[in-house]
Symmetry: C2
Subunit: 466 residues, 2 copies
């Protein structure tokens, strides 16, 4: 049997996510991101297409590396304005029954004690369908606006993120035992205090002496996503993530990434296929190759390469406004950009800034597939078989037309080939639906060691004031 293909939808609570300038397209709805109907319509469409989930990106701050100013980003709506993604989660769950909801939230801007409650709340109110995409943030502008001189360096951010995860695991997995809440109306015991533990975390970055504010939610720890592609990022993902998103627009680059990641996951004592890898792509599909190609050409009329450069400058930290548009970027330059390593892996071509900007204007730094359902299905199957990737994180060009086309043309074709599900799997929670096991993190996950407070040297009861 051929390997199954999974789809996620890639979105962001903003106008211009990965399709620079396409907000100008007459059929584009992305300007309606401020209205809840934009999101509930999309969620229902994705569930109709049996997508694993919707994955909502985020940044804190804005793109002001390009030209040393935020002006281009503001003019082009390049991920600014950008609203809070978390407030979309429960509304999406209200209009769907199966769709997973992945939300990007940084470990840099909120204390883990209060953030743990946000996660538990989202998991409760979505019935266990929430996923958290762990990021450590890359925009200097975000750090400056919360009173930091500049963004912490990459390695230090990951070190702090590791302790952040430890605090979260202690709160989410260890503070309230499974049988703590008894709701005994006769005896008047809502929860048994001896089963609710102060976590007494004393670390380098965080001190959290007390108990978690929320009772256990369906998944306890939400499904963990990660998108790290640097050395630290891959290690962190291999330790913690259950789903990984990767940007790699070449087949050899993707193949190498998937292989490296699975090896690292195995090294951590985890099932290498217990982590699902989704590659960022964009699909432009229609009834025939010709119609798809025409649509692609039509979309191209609306791109804004300068908007794309504002984003790419922010991702890379390099001000592309100071580079000549027609000079080849050079492998040295592209290789020096950690965020772009996977983008360029296996790439033979020498890109100029202009080519790069045009490429990045549709679908961000992911591969774009254009054609009839037959054509695109052939290509996706080839990629999946060659690279061992589990599925794709689909960006849109025109909201919600791009996703509607995928649901209308591509999903039925993949179903006919037996490589795409025809109904949602059993299980209420996102973790059950993705992995078929229980709703909680498996015992091979590092969170496991924080389940029993005795295991990490904590007293068993909360009798001493935390």
């Amino acid at each position: 049997m051929s390997k199954q293909i999974r789809f996620n939808a890639f979105e962001m609570n903003c106008v211009g996510h990965q399709a620079s300038g396409l907000w100008r397209h007459p059929r584009d709805r992305s300007g309606d991101y401020k209205e809840i109907g934009y999101w509930t319509d999309l969620a229902k469409l994705l569930e109709k297409g049996l997508f694993d989930g919707i994955f909502i990106a985020d940044v804190i701050g804005y793109y002001d590396v390009y030209g040393n100013s935020v002006d281009t980003a503001v003019r082009e709506a390049a991920q600014i304005p950008v609203n809070d993604p978390l407030q979309l989660a429960v509304p999406i769950a209200m209009v769907t029954e199966h769709l997973g909801i992945g939300v990007t939230i940084s470990t840099t801007y909120e204390h883990p004690y209060t953030f743990a409650r946000r996660l538990s709340t989202a998991d409760h109110l979505t019935g266990g369908r929430i996923g958290w995409n762990i990021v450590t943030s890359y925009l200097d502008s975000g750090a400056r606006n919360v009173g930091q001189k500049a963004l912490l360096n990459h390695e230090f951010r990951y070190e702090k993120a590791e302790e952040y995860m430890e605090v979260l695991y202690k709160l989410l997995e260890g503070s309230w035992e499974a049988d703590a809440v008894v709701r005994d109306r006769e005896k008047g015991i809502f929860a048994r205090p001896e089963k609710v533990h102060a976590i007494r975390h004393q670390g380098k970055h965080f001190q959290v002496p007390g108990v978690h504010m929320s009772e256990p939610s369906p998944q306890r720890t939400p499904l963990l996503f990660q998108a790290g592609s640097s050395t630290f990022g891959v290690r962190f993902a291999a330790q913690n993530a259950e789903s990984v998103f990767v940007n790699s627009h070449t087949l050899p680059g993707l193949k190498k990434y998937v292989s490296t990641l699975r090896q690292q996951v195995a090294k951590q004592g985890r099932d290498p296929h217990g982590v699902l890898v989704y590659a960022l792509i964009t699909v432009i599909v229609d009834e025939t190759d010709e119609k798809a190609e025409a649509k692609w050409q039509e979309y191209q009329q609306y791109i804004s390469p300068e908007g794309a450069l504002a984003l790419i400058s922010g991702w890379s930290g390099i001000d592309f406004a100071t580079q000549r548009a027609d000079v080849p970027l050079g492998k040295e330059l592209s290789g020096a950009i950690p965020a772009l390593v996977n983008t360029f892996a296996g790439e033979q071509q020498e890109w100029t800034v202009e080519e790069f900007a045009r490429f990045g204007s549709i679908g961000g730094l992911g591969k774009v597939f254009v054609g009839s359902a037959t054509t695109v299905a052939d290509q996706l199957q080839h990629w999946v078989e060659e690279t061992d990737v589990d599925g794709f994180n689909l960006a849109y060009v025109v909201a919600h037309e791009t996703f509607a086309d995928v649901v209308q043309w591509l999903v039925p074709e993949l179903q006919r080939r037996g490589v795409y599900r025809t109904s949602y799997p059993q299980g209420k929670t996102l973790r059950e639906k993705l992995f078929g096991g229980g709703p909680l993190l498996p015992d091979t996950h590092p969170a496991h060691r924080y389940r029993d407070p005795k295991q990490y040297g904590q007293p068993q009861t909360s009798e001493v004031k935390a």
Copy 2:
């Protein structure tokens, strides 16, 4: 014409809010707080009853003053577990058209730069029906769990809160001009950079150089609620708040509070009736006085005075576990508790700890009215006319029975008397519905001075990198 009466519903994203032990009542639904249906059912009920809004309280931390331990609070579900209130706002807006949604969020736990985006997002997605209840937090346990040695002192918290508000006003009112977002598809200009301003805030507690991440929302600054009753609290409310909640279970105490507050509001150059005051009460109403009295007696069987003491100890900072139950509290003691000043103002009675605990078990520290619609309507009209209060913040005893009874019996009686609206007022936003003006803060509000960045000495464009 008699003074109109307004209702708000007082809730919290937890099991036991203001009715200690009543989660044990067979008809109580408060244990379903984790499910979104609990909230959407309630919201639809309140809108049927033409309530101004639902007001969701919150704490960060837990009640561990009583007996120097969190155990009693956990056993009694005394505001723990407690989930994030903000994630309820958009779902409530989705199932209603008019209801305001007030959410309590502390100025102590999140940086104003990221918090401003949460507020803008909530205001966008609710179509301008969000209110923010500004609190500075009172639980030491919350502060300890985010790595502070102890809660900042009361005066310092308010000083910091004042600067926090200044940063928010600059971001929400001043950063994006009204005509910044033009969405010009022809010219490819989403927003005009020269109309988006870096706020360049350099203060004692916060440094925020940049632009706000969100475009202007319907109300820009959400409707501002406050519940401060200390000297600092009243001054802060008089400066900033548009709606004020007060705990005062006696008529003279409430009268004095309302009068003081309106004087302070006028001193700030604001319309003294431009601030709506809602007093915390509980209404137990039924077809007849006898039936209401019987219901009240039945409810009493489920109270937990110890759970109430866990809350009261947290509110006051005094460990009531160390006080003898039958000894009068003494006016000195009660007067020494800032949070209880209004509770005891005008009170003749000397309370023992036990009496106080029983009193506090239903409806928190607010007055309880029991009777037929006629009886309760008489009393509420008397209170409104004597005290100049604008309305009531209604706590529940049994969720959602208490609110259903009010909607079924009391609202129609008040409508017959011409003192309660028979339809919602015009206007889409909460501010328009409450005050009949526009969706934005009036020019007499202190936020006004931050609308034009030139007025507070900032450069007019964002051309210099923030």
